[in-house]
Amino acid sequence: MPRVLLMVGTKKGAFLLDSDQTRRDWSVRGPFCEGFEVRDVSFDPSDGALYAAAASPWFGPAVFRSPDLGATWTHSSEGLTYGDDGPKLTRVWNVTPAHGAVYAGVEPAGLFRSDDAGTTWRHVEGLRQHPSTPEWGPGLGGLILHTIIPHRSDPDRMWVGASAVGVFETTDGGASWTARNRGVRQGYNPGEPGEVGSCVHKFARAAGTDQTLFQQNHCGVYRSDDGGAHWTEVTGSLPSEFGFVLGAHPRDPQTAWVIPLTPPEKGRLMPDGKAAVWRTRDGGGSWERQSNGLPQENAWLSVLREAMGVDTLDRPGVYFGAQSGQVFASADEGDTWREIASYLPAIASVDVAVIAG
């Protein structure tokens, strides 16, 4: 029987939540990576390893690896540096295994690659050699590379996203990059939107294609049907253009989930103190509010950019975690929800893996 593993990164380490495919009962393990702030935890299906993107106020940034689903962990930051004369690397924000390598997105924004399962790292220099680099500036969360989407079949092709900078694509293994922000509003910029300066919060690839991408931006929700070359706004009826997370359905390219939040000046909270996830079934053409089982009174929750996961079971499960430590789960694509953990530290990330039994 398949096992469902929910990987939760928090301000105070990582936690693992285990269930079977019914997703009714969950057990919590952790904390792992104690003392480290964990911004992302990923599962590598090629070898069953877990990777955690971590940083400690004392010991600096590191990528942790567990070869045995959390029983034991090692860590390394060898090579995670811009050099003695470069900017100081402060945090790892994303770790993504793909095509036999592991990629790490870091702060200040940049991309690193490991070809030995996270033991050593090398800088993918081409990204920070993009001509726009002098224009890069931090958002409130910092100058962070938080999203990495490798192409499904082409190991030389990849998209990355950095807050207040935008989406970039490489087709040559990281040697050169193209900004992919056309069509995305920059409401905080009084001039015309620039090639960069787009505050992407999270983007995800639609099922079964490398052409369709969904993006939750500081300024709305967008879809691209040409690999990011052009974006079309699909914010539509959402109660706020602002939000962080975005989850895509594993098989239906028209289905995705977002969690609208109040704008920054109003706190980045669930609108009206009523928790809700919003789902589209038509590629962003329309949105439906999903709140059955979520708290609807004084629920001033905030959900950060990495804190939504979608599993791959026949009826996909959707999960999100709040900065106030709750994890909510739906085993029916968001139709109904349950709180499955209540008192974790501030949650930064939620990822999920279905592991063959």
Binding site: E34, G35, P57, W58, F59, G60, A62, H75, S76, S77, E78, L80, T81, Y82, G83, D84, D85, G86, K88, L89
Partner: protein, 87 residues
């Protein structure tokens, strides 16, 4: 050889590492390089690019605040301490 004393939180990251070790080196940097030779990877937990001691790590030699270049004698005690920080 200087006596080096390490914080629990640091040695916990490297299972099997003792909290007290006798290590060679004429400066703090050299002593902690000797430590890294015994415990690969521990240098990256204490130093950042520059190289510089991490912002929230403090090193003392014979009770006095020290930097990378601070001299260490064979009879010195080198304490690596976590700064009061976090939340």
């Amino acid at each position: 050889m200087a006596e080096v004393r390490l914080p629990t939180a640091l040695v916990t990251l490297f299972p099997g590492t003792p909290r007290r070790l006798d290590l060679a080196g004429a400066t703090v940097g050299e002593v902690l390089a000797s430590l890294d030779a015994l415990v690969p990877g521990i240098h990256d937990r204490l130093f950042m690019a520059g190289p510089a001691i991490r912002d929230h790590i403090r090193v003392f030699v014979d009770g006095e605040a020290a930097e990378i270049a601070t001299p260490v004698s064979p009879r010195s005690a080198v304490d690596v301490v976590l700064a009061v920080s976090g939340g």
